[in-house]
């Protein structure tokens, strides 16, 4: 009985500062509305959406997903290192997060370039309007997150972060995992959703 009480005494907490969770919650609601609106538009013209979907590079989209998952993992390990005061491990794990973020930006740039080279723009049809809007908003998130991870990486050289000083990196990490999970939904929505 005493053991159970002791285990339950572990305080429940949100990583980072509370404000970042308000932002994450609001962002999740906004993206849920965008996903719903996309599906509403798709309902009106499934043939156009399906034909356009098939022009997207599914393999590149899948690789993008693996890149962001790996990035999230590296940042999650960095936070674990901070909790254990393993300060020497932090810079390379944060760098791993930032570099994989840059890889995603490069991959998305290649994809956009391919589309523009084929004359495909947001004005081509409603599917491409959604494709550029959703991936564009997400890409802005990635650029912001990569910049924040680069900032943490530079600060981590000086041993700034440990188990007592981790509110900022935990907040950035939570935001970065949001970026990852949004892509986990966006990728199948745009690239994999076959029509009947």
């Amino acid at each position: 009985m005493v053991v159970v009480t002791a285990e339950r005494a572990k305080p429940r907490r949100l990583p980072g500062v509370d404000g970042v969770w308000v932002f994450i919650g609001a962002d999740l609601v906004i993206f849920a509305i965008l996903f719903l609106s996309f599906m509403q538009d798709r309902l009106k013209n499934p043939a156009t959406f399906e034909a356009s979907r098939q022009t997207l590079n599914m393999h590149l989209g899948g690789i993008d997903t693996l890149i962001l998952l790996t990035s999230s993992w590296s940042v999650a390990l960095a936070v674990q290192a901070m909790k254990r005061d393993q300060i020497d491990r932090e810079p390379r794990l944060l760098l791993g997060g930032a570099v994989t973020g840059l890889m995603f930006v490069a991959s998305k740039s290649i994809e956009y370039f391919e589309k523009f080279a084929h004359g495909i723009t947001p004005g081509t049809n409603p599917f491409y309007m959604w494709y550029f809007t959703l991936t564009g908003i997400h890409l802005i998130h990635v650029v912001v997150g990569t910049s924040l991870l680069t900032y943490l990486w530079v600060r981590s050289w000086r041993g700034t972060y440990d188990h007592l000083h981790r509110a900022v990196p935990e907040s950035v990490a939570s935001y970065w995992h949001l970026v990852d999970l949004l892509w986990i939904v966006l990728f199948p929505l745009l690239y994999l959703m076959k029509a009947v």
């Binding site: 429940r12 996903f35 499934p46 790996t70 009947v196």
Partner: protein
């Protein structure tokens, strides 16, 4: 600290495996669109839940907050699948 002893490493490996299943498995013509889409979005909901619980550390969050966030992948997958089934077949 061996990364293999970290729970997040096993979660990451699971997420990578599930991504390979949806991207290079369920997308094949071997599966009907209904099986592929339902399977894909059920897997998506599971992946998002694990990102929330283990990467975002919501497993240790106050219960109400955790439940509110955990509802998101379930609602989003249900809405997407609901609209997908409501969409008429192509002529």
């Amino acid at each position: 600290m061996s990364v293999l002893r970290e729970r997040v490493t096993w979660v990451w490996l699971g997420l990578v495996a599930l991504t390979c299943v949806t991207t290079w498995g369920l997308s094949k013509d071997l599966f009907s669109p209904a099986v592929a889409v339902v399977g894909t979005f059920l897997i998506v909901a599971v992946k998002v839940r694990y990102v929330m619980l283990d990467f975002m550390e919501l497993r240790d969050a106050p219960l109400r907050v955790r439940l509110a966030f955990e509802a998101w992948p379930a609602v989003v997958a249900a809405v997407i699948l609901g609209f997908w089934f409501a969409t008429p077949a192509m002529a």
